[in-house]
């Protein structure tokens, strides 16, 4: 289990390069247990790179990154037990039936054999997959595939859920379904959610972390950041899109 005296996610002075390109420049933030945080920024800002470092797909170049009090550089396998991850592309084994895919995910996440059936049932119920458990993944709609991806990510009951563009490419009904699902899951877990749909931020998250060109542009509760922006710009109607533009547009 996570250690209580640590923030669930701790990033301090993280830097990462792809060749000469600096994807992350000395970024730092903490996320506490039970927070739902929207991680936003323009394309190429460094959101996915940060998420890949948190999920141990990439090793930090400099700085310290811990998840549930465990250093990602020192014990990546232990970190992975605390994390559920839905990548941007939602990779799935399309030829598998949903039940088998979930059971395999449970096994790969180290869920004991005796608890696997229960874990599969719980995740399926949570993501409303019960009616499609017998279908192959390639037969599912995009919305259901996204649900399968999320079910795989929560099957081992992780402390932290990292969702990279979880609602991209979905129709409005599917977006609402996935949004409700994330809100339901967020009652018990820490969620870091990257998105380009800014309405989603106010609907789901209590806090925003905005990065731009690999640096932290702003970080705080949604209401407070909007209030500050309205005062700063003297625009009482300033919304989340204005906030995004204010911190990113002049740098493009």
């Amino acid at each position: 289990m996570a250690q209580d005296d640590h923030p669930m996610i701790h990033i301090a002075n993280l830097t990462y390069h792809y060749g000469e390109f600096c994807a992350l420049k000395d970024i730092s933030f903490d996320i506490g247990a039970g927070e739902i945080v929207a991680f936003i920024g323009p394309n190429g800002a460094g959101k996915s790179t940060t998420m890949k470092v948190l999920t141990t797909l990439l090793r930090p170049e400099t700085g310290t990154v811990t998840v549930a009090g465990i250093d990602v550089s020192k014990d990546p396998l232990a970190v992975r037990k605390h994390i559920g991850y839905l990548p941007e592309t939602n990779p799935l084994y399309e030829d598998m039936i949903v039940f088998d895919a979930l059971e395999m995910a449970a096994a790969q996440h180290g869920v004991p054999k005796s608890n696997r059936a229960q874990a599969v049932q719980k995740a399926a119920q949570h993501c409303s997959l019960n009616t499609v458990m017998h279908l192959t993944i390639q037969q599912l709609s995009r919305g259901y595939r996204q649900r399968v991806g999320i079910a795989q990510a929560i099957i081992h009951d992780p402390d932290v859920l990292i969702l990279d563009e979880a609602t991209t490419g979905l129709d409005p009904n599917q977006i609402r379904e996935i949004r409700d699902l994330i809100l339901a899951i967020g009652k018990t877990k820490t969620i870091l959610l990257s998105t380009h749909i800014l309405q989603e931020v106010t609907a789901i998250a209590s806090r925003i972390i905005l990065i731009d060109h690999g640096t932290l542009a702003c970080d705080g509760p949604v209401d407070k950041l909007l209030k500050d922006l309205r005062q700063k710009t003297d625009n009482p109607l300033a919304n989340i899109e204005d906030l995004f533009t204010h911190y990113t547009a002049n740098k493009i």
Binding site: L58, K81, L92, M104, A105
Partner: protein, 236 residues
Amino acid sequence: MFTIYRRDLSRMIHSQTVGIIIVLFLMIMGAMFFIDFFDTVQTLSLRKFFSQAPLLLSIFCPALTMNSLAQERAQKTLDLLQTMPIHTAHIVLAKFLTCLTLLGLVLFFTLSYPISLATLGPLDWGPVIGGYIALMLLGGGYIALGILASSCTKDQISAFLLAFFLCFALTFIHRLSLDASGSTATILQNLSVNSHFSNIARGVVDIRDILYALTLQFFALTATILKLESKKYPER
């Protein structure tokens, strides 16, 4: 590890492409056996059959391994696997064991040749058993090279061609020793699969030949693990 192994094995067994590759391999193996059938019956030996096997395996093994990691990379499922509490070595080992199991299964079907030969006369089983051990060891080496090639690209055809080149080069590198002399010739001979394989195929099981095959597997699989792990570090 065994979850990935079971899933991959089931996937490969149900794959049409793998089915076609196996049928083609068995047909060519059968043709190789029957082309020299009368000679084989006269000598009651499978030596000719085994001597042609390295070339055939250098095509068959890359065909088996070409989609093992390349497909996972193309579909990005490898990224997902690497965020689960599974060591990269276990992923690579599971892929290796899957292909090795399939090779074992395919070679099992060819046992009908020595069995049918044994009904025609007193077959010396020593070289036959040695030959099959050699095929598995050699196949293991080729499979490990194939998995290494598959980890280098997202394209299955490129993975196949790269693996075939590596296996083919390793099989026939001893030919270069004909023009070389001294220690260069010895090194080329020792590196060649053929010079090690011919000993075992004759029924002579030398520990050095077994070590050669196991070393080849170890180095190729270790290189694959390092290749996958290296992607996690900054490119500077």
